[in-house]
Symmetry: C3
Subunit: 670 residues, 3 copies
């Protein structure tokens, strides 16, 4: 990842939208046209400058195969343009029309168990279906031809949330596509046999035609097959995206994107998608019942920035208040939506958009909040929406500034997939749990972090954190070893470096890929019982996991005081070249993990930041100025020793800023 | 609902049975014919006067397609008639013969996920199957022709427990029937599109052929489609019933019924079924592990009486002791069966029948209790069965008397269905939970209540209780508003009045249909976390739900003391016309709900009744006398200030009656 | 069961293997051939004398239909023979090659719900498929013809773990086979109707073609059909085994076996399989999170010995440390594998084998432990494997000695199946829970027990324990009654003797089959609520279950002090002929059950054994000497008053042996 170079340009940002973007999904087809006029008037009042339209409009735009009814969309775009609201026009391919299902029932996706999913909700189609792809290309071409020159148009929004809720299809057409994908990857059945380890359980393939997706079977399937199928599914959706994007590019020079869900869609390997969009867009929703949803928000924003290769990105969807699809859809409390929005901007978002402009009266999401709620313009939510519009105007100068970090966390969808396949040593092993545990401690230490892919460039970082990188290729292992040898500080959690890209154990003893850099061998995994805890020296307590660690150069920093590894090393540090590599062999959480991380940070020369708990401070660096976003998630006013002018209020703070309870400030720093 | 007019007549009650009905399901085909003689002798001893036969006998009566073997049934009816036991003859259509499945595999029902259910248990057929319906009509016609003149015959029992355990079928034939039903309801695809809100998520239909049942799909489906499918399923079973009934009526003037499960079969809208039977019959089974199963029993009986439009009804099935299909089938303790039976009679049942006469030796229900248990006539259960027969003879004069109430509870299967569709604001919202919570407090206050349908006549009531009437049509809202305007007292719980009959949100802010009568707007729903509690003023505590209530005329009675709505109104009262409308915006239970209801009752002029806890007193009103049923569910004798003669014992109680622990009295009141 | 007669012979033990067998599954196909040389060298070091090969090698041995590639197996057998390692050669029919699925998709098994299971794991085939059986016979014939004369060969290993994980298939071919099986069993549809009680719920069959497996249906199916289907499934797998065995016997005089999982495969009735193998082999894996897994191990070993009719048996698979398929795969701690191995030998195993020789690098079981783990020969596990090899050499003289017991526990797969069918009086009833509860108390009393089948010979036992023998045939009841009449002592737990072999209730009151011998009737079952407890006299506490017990000769030993049966008998004793029969009508555990068993033992004249808790002592009796295995599962050294020479160390213990913490001794007794 490289910093400091902002790459503006017509092709990477909504064209014609000044400053920060503000708006949301707009579904006027749900309302009589007379309501549209009220909508644009209210958008003007709220300072909305971009809306996403037509996301679910395929059946209206193409009511019969090949017959198009675009008049309403013409009128809508003219109306919006007249009001100064730019348009993010979707290819409406996430919900095929009913007639396509009737003509081509084979577009219905099939589950692992063979259940055929029917239309009736959304995103229910087989990505490998030729009939689906052909019809999707046709509607995309029609919209591109008609609207590429429309002055309202600022951005193309391909499809919607690829991979959610459905990431895989096991139908015969998908099976054929999987075989083609494998043939490209491996060349011969023998190479496939070697990669998948088919001598285990007698699974050898003699011919490509014998290969199928990993359907329901009697017991655990072949993990390499499962892993390749997950890769294939992500790639197959990417192929759908590319096909539509390429159609758009034939007609239009406007930027093209699709909305990601970086931390909430496990079925997409976004590292492979980031470079395919002109601007990265992300959807994020709070987990309403989470204790500290703002930490998850920050992680999502940081990961999105990484997928965007450090460039500014768009928050394409979040919510003004409650969503409707969680078990208990808690409403946001006053000020929370503003804090959420500004926290995204702090971490690199130059756009704040919502699902949705106006609350639906009907359908599955009628209880989802909106900029204009059921309660109308007399409501608190509407007032906060209007105020936020003004805030974003006040922040327009931060547009294009960048975030920098000297701590990196390695994130890897492939490790996530592989680690959580069936028949691992313990069901309590969980990829994301470890990432979140480390991330939360870094957040609490007020350290801004970047996420990086496993083979990414680490040269800018003082400290690299590797939580449960179960799948570690030789190339990734070399990157980490070179980083440490060159003077870097590394901290690795248990169950990292175990298998290669085919889920085959690295030979020679665990953790095969990282034995050298860590200076140790793990002789045996020692999973703990449910709710079992182990004591460490220094008063720390771990759970879930322990290991029989045999140092080969590493020095024990902490030892197990009891449990199955009693007396053995629990946390180690290995000098390796000019740097050092730490290893944490049990599950530490909260203060125990913070304790270890403080030592690691000290070792890395990463200085502590002195701020009150739950006061979030992130810096953005522009060409002419630097900015500090201060978001106060607490119920008390916070004093922060930063000096500058608060862009939100115009107030100068020459001797440190006071941020009210639940409030925020954005300082142009002195 | 109108009272005081008893509608006797050959066509609305088992013909030729005097006094109260006593008996049960009788399955003689499970035993050698020599056992039948013992059966009728024991029936005589127990004073049994009606038995239900042939419910599961189709395969015996029609062993091959179109070939009938009725000899054993002839002999059985003659035997019963000779012993003075009348017959409730079933059309045995709940279990088609094996040969019908083999000839017509398409009669097998299909689940939402596409699983084809095979025969092997019971009630496993597609209600829309022409082959099923044709075969059902044939066996019905055969029985009607043969037995309509048999002197033993008193009543026709169509099928068995329609809708339980299977309420829906998703097969292609059901899909065709669903389309026909929709075409009748809506006339055009455009009307369907409008009703179902298909502009949401791009679900527009261009042609009827594109419509399918709401099969498994990627995520939440269209709620209006789901709701209409539930209506269709109830109507389709009703069409099955009507078809058989109409065949019977061609041959017989005897009354026709089918056994409902008013509180235990969620898939039937009994409001639409009540008028289709000549006499309402109901099956009720205790939830064995419930803390107070007798309260649920009372609710079932009251709801059955409502479905019977206030007329006497038949308890067609209950159990002498344990059932076999619950997780833990606790046995009834001594006296409990008698209390259960008399409590049903108290609330309008003029028949007490059991599943089953004699315990089966084999099959899925061999551990279900019976009038004649596995332990035989030496058992406690048999002795209690004989005693109950004598009790019912002693009560014969209550036959035809009616129950009156001045408190009504609105009950609505459509609200139940709609409220519990996916993606509501909180998974803790539950329709029946709220009805039961209010009902239990009214039961504990010793108030006899009627259930009424949402658009029912409220003119006889001082107080109307509306628990979670999520789906409220404009017509229902008008009934409630007129009732209050005319001087009535209304109490409404949260999440009422939200959507119309298509599950579309009423415009203008929640609760759209009831804003005026309640004098308030709910600006935002505030679902609570799992196990979160909110304090109210007055020391009350709520959970599950809170709301941002904005009064528009209503006066706050209680406020939130903490939680997301702290300071706002929690319980309100609105003067509206000559009456008042109360609103409860959080989930109150137990004493907290009782507290609010006491205030509401005082407002309504409903006087408190002074009786010991768990002593149940219900009055029936006859042409010549009034009766008080006193059922003592406690472990101590109870003194009740009612005077009269106990019909069960003949004892006169001129100064108040003493009812022994666990006992009962039925007073002909002075 | 008869004792004292050891039946040696070429046909009942691996040929050419002296002393105790030591080894494991060997999968050389997973490694380059150059690794094989290292393998045999290490086997030699570990004293391995038998390895199981080719279990999953079908696809390698027959890469295309009818084309065989046996060269690698030739080389392997020669190599092993050269190193003195004998071969247990598998028919590799547990995993058919991919080409067979492609040519015959109908070999894929189908679940009760109709889900077609695809290949991809293991053991995924329909046992009734002609295509599968034909292909299985062909590869078996090929291997038999080629290797029956190979000098390395010692034993044939047919298939692998029949019935696990898949015990049933519901496809059309299985349905046809089920009909043939039923036709053989019943002769006519009328006999089937009588046996299955099809008059219940109108399930009569008019023709064989109407009968299907018990597929998914609307509610509980016919229990007799379910029970017969379970019998059929076990028999159908047995037919697969027999077919392969008979092919082998055409070519070879070597013994044939298949590996059972006596306590872990509920779908096989091993009583019907034991006589079909030349030597009984068993696989056993600890439940890692169990509190006392060594007690379950002992139960498995005792049951395996019973299936072997008291003869020595082979432990075909266990693990050196963790497995990979449990939720949390705890590693064995130092010494535990040795204790496990010796405990199996103590209870009759003359072979100690492991899954697996060398840990896999890939596939679903790469985290399963092995004799040679990922950590290699530098590891603790490898050192313990080598030491165990030496131990077994030291124990060679115990080969062929036998175990004797004077307490028997009746075990019955049919009762297990029937008791746990749907719709029993309580979901808390569980067959194996009761067996384990009684077994654990007997283990803690240091009593060695035999398991016996329900109609087995009881003449050698002083005490017979019958836990929850729900299904009790008249013949089994007669065996028990004769045993007691002849002077035996019997203890029976609740829910025994209830139904006959068709799951039909024995007439005349529960427990129909055992009323006479127990001297009582159970008038009514009284299942308890979840977590409800009942007090008994004497301070004991029961849960789950109570009964209304009516003595008819039996004397109450303990009574219910509260609960639904308060005052009634809880534990009874009936003098019957020359013996006595005890009955326990509630669920007792731990010390409460131990208390009752102590009284029962005293009544039976079974003397208490004085040993420290968790010190396991079992005797084997040889022709020339008797041996005592002492396994110390505690963390302290144990003193045991047995005298002799410890074969493991050569140490003589003339005045009692001291066994170190976690250690073991095997004494040749003086």
């Amino acid at each position: 990842m490289t910093f400091g170079v902002f790459r503006p340009g017509a092709s990477s940002w909504p064209v014609g939208v000044d400053g920060l973007v503000y708006g949301g999904d707009y579904n006027p087809e749900q309302w009589p046209e007379q309501v549209w006029a009220e909508d644009v008037e209210l958008m003007r009042r709220a300072r909305v400058n971009l809306v996403s339209v037509a996301i679910h409009s395929w059946a209206l735009l193409e009511p019969r195969p090949g017959e198009f009814d675009l008049g309403w969309l013409d009128r809508l775009l003219d109306l919006l343009h007249g009001a100064g609201v730019a348009v993010n026009l979707a290819t409406p391919t996430v919900v095929p029309p009913a007639w396509l299902y009737r003509a081509h029932p084979e577009i219905r996706p099939v589950t692992r168990d063979g259940v055929v999913l029917d239309r009736g909700s959304r995103a229910t189609f087989c990505p490998s279906s030729p009939a689906y792809r052909e019809a999707a290309a046709r509607i995309t071409r029609t919209l591109a031809a008609r609207y590429s020159g429309h002055p309202a148009l600022a951005l193309w929004h391909v499809h919607n949330e690829y991979g959610a809720p459905l990431g895989a299809c096991y139908c015969p057409e998908s099976a054929g596509a999987f075989r083609r994908w494998l043939r490209t990857r491996y060349g011969s059945p023998d190479a496939l046999n070697a990669a998948w380890g088919t001598t285990f359980w007698g699974q050898r393939y003699g011919d490509w035609d014998e290969v199928e997706p990993p359907r329901a079977t009697a017991t655990a399937g072949n993990p390499a097959q499962e892993l390749d199928f997950l890769r294939f599914c992500s790639d197959e959706l990417l192929a759908c995206y590319r096909a539509e994007r390429d159609v758009l590019r034939e007609h239009s020079h406007l930027p093209v994107t699709t909305n990601f869900m970086t931390t909430n869609c496990r079925s997409i390997d976004y590292w492979r998608w980031g470079a395919e969009v002109d601007v990265v867009a992300n959807d994020h929703y709070l987990t309403a019942e989470a204790e500290r949803p703002h930490v998850d928000l920050a992680m999502s924003a940081d990961l999105t920035r990484a997928v965007a290769d450090g460039q500014p990105w768009m928050l394409m969807e979040h919510s003004t208040s409650a969503v409707n699809w969680q078990p208990r859809n808690l409403a946001k409390r006053p000020g929370e939506m503003r804090r959420n929005s500004l926290a995204h901007v702090a971490r690199g978002a130059d756009a704040v958009m919502f699902f949705q402009w106006r609350a639906s009266r009907f359908g599955a999401e009628k209880f989802h909040s909106a900029m204009l709620p059921h309660a109308g313009t007399g409501s608190r939510i509407w007032r906060e929406v209007v105020d936020l519009g003004a805030d974003l105007v006040a922040l327009r100068e931060v547009r294009g500034s960048l975030v920098r970090a000297n701590v990196a966390v390695v994130w890897d969808w492939e490790s996530w997939w592989a680690l959580e396949l069936p028949w691992r040593p313990s069901v309590d092993l969980a990829y994301r749990e470890r990432v979140e545990a480390f991330y939360e401690q870094l957040w609490d230490a007020h350290l801004t972090v970047d996420f990086v892919p496993p083979e990414g460039d680490l040269s800018d970082y003082r400290l690299v954190v590797v939580p449960s990188l179960y799948l570690t290729t030789a190339a990734a292992a070399k990157v980490l070893a070179d980083y440490v040898a060159g003077g870097g500080t590394l901290v690795v959690s248990y169950f990292s470096g175990i298998v290669d890209g085919n889920d085959a154990v690295h030979p020679g003893g665990h953790p095969g890929a990282l034995r050298d850099v860590l200076g140790l061998t793990v002789e045996e995994f020692l999973p703990l019982r449910r709710d079992e805890r182990v004591a460490l020296t220094g008063g720390l307590v771990g759970d879930v996991w322990a290991e029989d660690v045999r140092p080969a150069g590493a020095e024990p920093v902490l030892r197990y005081a009891d449990g199955p590894a009693a007396g053995g090393p629990a946390v180690t540090r290995n000098r390796f070249g000019a740097g050092s590599a730490w290893y944490v062999s049990t599950r530490l959480r909260g203060e125990a993990l913070a304790h270890v991380l403080r030592e690691v940070c000290a070792d890395a020369g990463v200085d502590p930041v002195d701020l009150p708990r739950d006061v979030e401070v992130v810096h953005r660096h522009g060409v002419d100025a630097d900015y500090a976003f201060v978001v106060n998630h607490t119920a008390s006013a916070a004093e922060v020793a930063l000096r500058g002018v608060d862009l939100l209020t115009g107030t100068a703070w020459p001797a440190g800023v006071t941020v009210p309870a639940g409030g925020a400030a954005v300082l142009r720093l002195e």
